[in-house]
Subunit: 189 residues, 2 copies
Amino acid sequence: MKFCSTCGSPRIELRVPDGDTHARHVCAECGRVHYVNPKVVVGCLPEWEHRILLCRRAIEPRYGLWTLPAGFLEIGESVVAGAARETLEEANARVEVGELYSLVSLPQIGQVYMMFRARLSGLDFGPGTESLEVRLFEEHEVPWEALAFRTIGRTLRNYFLDRKQGAFPLRVSSLERRPPPALFPPDRG
Amino acid sequence: MKFCSTCGSPRIELRVPDGDTHARHVCAECGRVHYVNPKVVVGCLPEWEHRILLCRRAIEPRYGLWTLPAGFLEIGESVVAGAARETLEEANARVEVGELYSLVSLPQIGQVYMMFRARLSGLDFGPGTESLEVRLFEEHEVPWEALAFRTIGRTLRNYFLDRKQGAFPLRVSSLERRPPPALFPPDRG
């Protein structure tokens, strides 16, 4: 933020407002505090018999890699409606949204993923404008090395483990930033 | 938004960008799209034996009314950490955060509430700067007519019903805007 969106002043300071606990962008001209909060990513894990639906991304980041249909929640919709909308937009797939299954916080990038189990209403799906390809995968076909995001890999690994147990408890977790790569290879002793 | 926070221009238009599905504030000068997305409210339902902890608000909106400790999730924290922080800030109460219990979308005001069951670590709590009073309530003592928000009433009603059943499944719901009051009293026939 370089200019105040309320008054246009360039006098933006990063400081902790009185009575607050976090640093904010504050306009020194008009006093407006500009809050920035995490965003919610909603999506589905669409099931068809023993297979699950994945989309291959036609956009950056992670162009060409595979993901579950998901995207930013919009003002005006519930989390369930948002998950269904993203699945329709990215995979042209209609689903019956089921239970919340995966809730993953990404503190450093200010995102919260909420993935719902969902039942595909039919096989008439196909790539939306943000997907190159959409298809169903058996567990042994999942392209583990070509998944777009760590949240997706975590969600899918839990899902296949839980499916073997026959129960899908809500999985709540947090993904911290990856540790930086070591400057030197680890000592092999 | 009256000025572009990137370039300071007042030429802000509300329109659907190419390839998008929703209207956004777009700067006609530099082209920047300014997204606004829903915010996450995280909080706890702190339990101590058969009682639950509520806070009486010392701030607007709903000054003087009762609520569960909750507030906006911040960048840099997980949803669980945020729920614990808000409970500490508003009630000086330390908790062991348990399972997610209530997930309420408020589409029209762009909020998603995530309330976790939590176990109080002790009775050394008290009002933070945003609370007038903090106390424990038995079910029959809950001030139902003086609760601050509909989400809180819904969460507490479900909680006491579920407690009688001995199970607390995740409650996912959406609260739409209240219907406007009728201009004339309903026809009593």
